[in-house]
Subunit: 149 residues, 4 copies
């Protein structure tokens, strides 16, 4: 699907919001790509991000599925809007066993109030990517609401 951004500054807006998220720094998440209705976030492996088997924790997988969707949706929102996740559902399909987690999200529907996205999270091991999780998310656009503290 092809979307038109409502704001010229959508990339800058997403980038600055991402940078304001301290949690992204903690897990060393990187904003790789933002286009209208699309966002991609990577997280390199680090032992501090793991569950009991030494793989990426489901919490990290969910975090980037959610965050990629939030910014895919945010890219289509108005200049003075902020975004919140209303809810999401995620299926964890393969262990996060690899050196890089790749979250990609696409907007499915950009409504006046609500935006629906799907996210896929891939795990890359020795350069081979595998589908690790799939999510479906609902965002709400808060008009005239600041994205800052």
């Amino acid at each position: 699907m092809k979307f038109e951004p409502k704001s010229d500054t959508y990339k800058k807006k997403v980038k600055e919001s991402f940078e304001r998220q301290e949690f992204m720094k903690l897990i060393n998440a990187q904003l790789i790509d933002v286009r209208p209705g699309y966002c991609e976030i990577h997280v390199p492996y680090h032992s501090s991000l793991t569950q009991q088997h030494g793989f990426f924790h489901a919490g990290i997988i969910s975090t980037i599925a959610d965050n990629a969707a939030g910014y895919a949706g945010f890219s289509l929102m108005e200049e003075n809007s902020s975004v919140l996740t209303v809810e999401f559902k995620i299926n964890l399909m393969a262990p996060g066993d690899g050196e890089l987690l790749i979250g990609k999200s696409n907007v499915l529907k950009n409504g006046r109030t609500l935006t629906i996205c799907t996210s896929e999270v891939f795990i890359s091991k020795n350069g081979v990517e595998k589908l690790c999780a799939a999510a479906q998310l609902t965002l709400i656009e808060l008009k005239n609401s600041s994205d800052q503290k």
Copy 2:
């Protein structure tokens, strides 16, 4: 609902598994309570866990909703089983604006293969608790499967 654990060592099993999760250390999550079919996890506020408004990141809220459920379910599984989250759905109902995040999960159904849980996450601010998120989760019990690396 009242559940009978299948293993005498369920508390020890949960505690040791929780301690093997490096990500729990990173976010300073604390295992507060484990009973048959119930688990409670707390995360004190820290600026490194925040989103753009300075509140707990949805990824942290989701992480403890999922982890509390995983261990509520694990408490009812057999001695030599390990547990995986199949999927979950979470509604984020209030911002994580407070000094302590409290995740509580109860098993709704403990089947032979699948276990269904509900989790509630509360945010405590100045000692007042507010419902922040509600989740519904599906776990799978992997028999004769190690919980370690």
Copy 3:
């Protein structure tokens, strides 16, 4: 939780809306109870409502989980609002093997725009009720929008 209805006529409004749903007639669904933030719907067994094993079809179970939530939420909305389901998630936990399906829904949060509900569906067999499904739903209130064709 205790909710205050915003409209005196909430019961009448729900009852009339329910009666306008032709599909409720087709499956012989009965609106049993409406209170502020609560709704209960029953569907007696009929062979036309079954899946391949002769039990209530998951589609019927989902239908009453959704409809009970829709009307639990609608009971709290303004006089001139209509309601739509944004999304729902349902876990099917036991076969719909019995003579009566009972859907009960409670509002968890009644926000300005969005309302979150949980529904439980019970199957009654020889007078014994069993939890058959649990759902979590998001509704949207459309202000100044007719509930009719």
Copy 4:
């Protein structure tokens, strides 16, 4: 994705199971296509299938999202297996305002025990198709279990 069926008779198995579902007859649902990991079901408009605005009821939309997924998954299961929906999540994105409801489902992952599918439901009005709903579903394969009463 390309899947190999485990049974030569997968089409016959799906067709016969579909025909055993009395509820499919009640709503006049038609099994349009079955391929390995894919299923398509149509429901023509009828006033008995409507909600209060005269559109297809969300219960019908959910029913075909679920049933298309169930048979997409069933097409990949073993000869003597039966299938159950564990859970699903659906976003309703546009009203079911049209003359034909089209449910299409694809298997995302076919595991040993669990199968994950995505379903899309389109509404066709005057020959124009519009995305009406998107769902994500988890199925369980019950080995050596009859698909009949």
